[in-house]
């Protein structure tokens, strides 16, 4: 059997204010502190479209090669639930913001193109807080802070063929949004949510099997596990001669299975109709072009360029393009110190030691700026300090925010390159190491390394290792 999966992804847009009112979108504020009559659905209020949300939607649409419609329209979707103050959600239905795009994904080194059917804007709902569990609660409270937060819903075509591909799609999707600054993509905070439609069909068949909608997958792991479970469940049911029931199932991450929602929970007639409080949104061509011109290079394009332009291994390119901030950091450092692989090593091993590759904020505000990293690498290059000392200097830069040169100068970390001084140290080391000298004479080259180590130790690591090696060899050959 062939697996057929389509994903519906909701992403919270990175706007300062909500979709239809001026309230802030900050996460984690005290309940109902970020609300106004509009997002509380008071009698008499009216929505006003957040232009920035539309702009971010268009940004994403262009990144996915969607056709941005010249005019789109909001609609009301009705169902009763107390987290939704108006008992309808303002969303888009027949006339979405954008349609017909695609996203490239990579699984096991092979790349595939996944169709994106539509992309539209809508408002989020609030959150219910139950006293105890949902079943036993004597009362429930509503927090409308999230009510009206702008969301972008993207519906993929049923092009995904495995749980792994679905997870890859979600990851690639998220990377694009984060890279474009459209969403922070945080699944724990609910900034990125995903539902899936799953069906099976005989291999080679063009018709789709009965689909099951899976909800409540709150992490990449959940998406993969839930879909693997569901594919297995359907395959076993079909093998046993059962029919698949079209339904909505919830993923239970703790128990590791999907369970059917009660039909009451989803049997809605949403009674969509065009939102009369908003005029149709006309999207000016010039505006689209302006947004297109402001689009940064996408992660995929940038990854390829890093390999060709800088000669980096694909592994390095992959990591360095995890976020826009990191990629920009790398390129800025390379401009000042044009040895890409050296810069890449330092970025990957030192810069990312304490911060995440997609932590845009931390990367941008790191005291070790690209210029400072380049300055450090110059000191290694010209022999002022050793690689080992450089790592210490990097740490000091991370904590203190000074130039490498200033730190090296103040703390006397310069490599000892004075041959006379080094010669005296070597003489002292040789004088107390007759055994090592004997070993060396008998052909044990490892003995020489131990001697170098002792010299380095005696100089506090500041000796220039190249000079030490040469002088030691000269002296040993004379003994």
């Amino acid at each position: 059997m062939e697996t057929v999966i389509g994903l519906e992804v909701h992403a919270q847009l990175l706007t300062r204010s909500k979709m239809f009112c001026g309230c802030p979108t900050t996460f984690g504020a005290p309940p109902n502190s970020q609300t106004c009559p509009v997002c509380q659905g008071m009698p008499g209020v009216l929505p006003v479209v957040n232009r920035r949300a539309v702009e971010l939607g268009i940004r994403a649409a262009l990144a996915f090669d969607c056709r941005v419609n010249a005019a789109c329209r909001f609609a009301r979707k009705h169902y009763y639930y107390p987290d939704m103050p108006k008992n309808y959600q303002i969303t888009q239905y027949e006339e979405p913001l954008a349609e017909d795009g695609h996203l490239e994904i990579e699984v096991d080194g092979a790349s595939r193109t996944i169709g994106i059917q539509r992309l539209h804007l809508e408002e989020d709902v609030g959150k219910l807080l139950h006293e105890g569990t949902l079943e036993t609660a004597q009362a429930s409270l509503v927090d409308y802070n999230r009510s009206g937060v702008p969301l972008m819903e993207t519906v993929s075509r049923p092009d995904l063929r495995s749980a792994e591909e679905a997870a890859a799609y979600l990851k690639a999707f998220r990377a694009v949004l984060v890279f474009l600054g459209v969403s922070n993509g945080n699944m724990e905070e609910g900034s990125l949510r995903c539902d899936a439609n799953v069906s099976l069909r005989p291999r080679g068949s063009r018709e789709l099997g009965t689909k099951v909608e899976i909800k409540n997958m709150n992490s990449f792991r959940s998406v993969k596990q839930a879909l693997e479970f569901e594919v297995r469940r359907q395959a076993e049911a079909l093998a046993a001669g059962e029919r698949i029931v079209q339904e909505t199932r919830l993923w239970d991450a703790d128990r590791g299975y999907t369970r059917a929602m009660r039909s009451k929970e989803y049997a809605h007639d949403y009674r969509y109709f065009p939102e009369p409080d908003l005029v149709p949104l006309t999207i000016d061509r010039a505006w689209i072009e302006e947004i297109r011109a402001g689009l940064p290079e996408l992660p995929r394009q940038r990854r390829a360029r890093f390999v060709t332009q800088y000669g980096l291994p694909p592994y390095d390119a992959e990591i360095l393009t995890q976020s826009r901030a990191l990629a920009e950091y790398f390129e800025a450092a390379v401009r000042e110190f044009p040895q890409p692989k050296v810069v890449s090593n330092w970025v990957m091993s030192e810069l990312l030691r304490e911060l995440g590759a997609d932590d845009e904020q931390a990367i941008r505000s790191s005291p070790v700026t690209p210029a400072r990293l380049a300055g450090l690498l110059v000191l290694i290059e010209d022999g002022t300090i050793s690689g080992k000392i450089a790592k210490e200097v990097f740490e000091k830069m991370r904590r203190g925010g000074e130039d490498a040169r200033a730190i090296v100068g103040r703390e006397g970390l310069t490599q000892v390159a004075d041959e006379a001084a080094l010669g005296r140290v070597i003489d002292q080391v040789l004088a107390r190491s007759p055994r090592a000298i004997e070993d060396y004479k008998r052909g044990k080259t490892a003995a020489a390394k131990a001697l170098v180590g002792q010299v380095m130790k005696a100089t506090g690591g500041k000796a220039n290792p190249g000079i030490v090696n040469r002088l030691l060899e000269e002296k040993l050959s004379k003994i």
């Binding site: 009698p43 008499g44 108006k86 009369p276």
Partner: protein, 484 residues
Amino acid sequence: MTGTPIHELTEAYRRSESTPTAATEAFLARIARLDGELGAYLTVTREQALRAAADADARYRAGKPLGPLDGAPLVYKDVLCTRGVTTTCGSRMLEGFVPPYDATVIARLTAAGAVMLGKGNMDEFAMGSSTEHSAFKPTRNPWDLTRVPGGSSGGPAAAVAAGLAAGGLGTDTGGSIRQPAAFCGVVGLKPTYGRVSRYGLVAFGSSLDHIGPFARDVTDAALLLRAIAGADPRDATCLTAPVPDYAAALAPGVQGLRLGLPDEYFIEGMDAEVERTVRTAVDVLRGLGATVERISLPATPHALATYYVIAPAEASSNLARYDGVKYGLRVAGAKDLVEMSSRTRAVGFGAEVKRRIMLGTYVLSSGYYEAYYGRAQKVRTLVRRDFDAAFGRVDLIVAPMTPNVAFKHGEKEDPLSMYLNDVFAVPADMTGLPAISVPCGFSAEGLPIGLQFIGKALDEASVLRAAYAYEQATPWRARRPSPA
């Protein structure tokens, strides 16, 4: 003092012949004396009114009034949100609901110095043509207490007619300003859709809801419209076109104006007295130099039926928020959420509101949407095209406001015969075109009759100008009811 129009009242303030406080006290006294019988007010904001009047007094004393509405005692239909003052929409559902914000129109009138006397009675959620559907009490027609004042803005219309307010605001979704204006013998203006912000108007049919003034005369209507009109960043459907000084442009008269008289507005079953009175009024206009020609608006017969698809559809959506969760009524003792909301809605809404919610829910249901809502929108386009075509030939349309005069309480129990009362009013709501009702005479029984002018979009100026010319040429505005 309670019988004069606003522009004369504020003129008297300026000449120190009266003060806002004196006028406000006079209105409050009259309300106290007469409203028990009339039922025009749901809330009287006595203390607030006196404070606002005292502030206005000070401005006049300082020689710095805010403008022609400073110190004008007004009544606002209880569907307009007033910060800190109960706004019920005539419904048990919102009994005791105190909005935390002012509707844009209220904020604008307050900024212009207007004094709010209180909130006017109305059919529940503005659904009705008689103000008999108020959950709290009916309003009586000041010309004949056994009759209805029209609706849904019956409270403000009756208050202005009876001298219980100098002017006021109503809302018009399917005639709810103009029909009660006609029944009560006052001026009622429904502006172009989008001319006045709807922010803070508790929605009934969002694409049809309009806010407009009730006034003693056309000059006051012009002054009130100017104060409330204009762009509002809180209403995306509000137009940004500049607001002219309507009152300054009233004078030129109707000389040379081309008026269209639509055949479809003289229908079978119409009150002969009303028809005769309206035709006489048209002759007056002809006498004033207007040219009058017969026109046809063929889609008119379908407008009312279409209205009763679109308005309930939007209402079913707009009224979904009243579920007992957030504000207003919550019936106690429910076992769960569904029961809480169902019982709250069962108790909180009256029969007419429920009827329209069911109607609206049905026409939006999957499988029926195209047949009803989709089709109704197409008819709405046809109605608009009729008017577009007519306005290629004429400047204004003149027509009767209602097919009959005010009817008796309880006379129209059948919803359909009630709905038919708005047959001439609904097309202007469906098209969003500006329309006014101005008194044009009385029936043999002494009941007022209204003349309607419908203008081109955003051409309130011509509508007001024609109404003003007619008003100035006729004696009707001098006649006032004597409810007690």
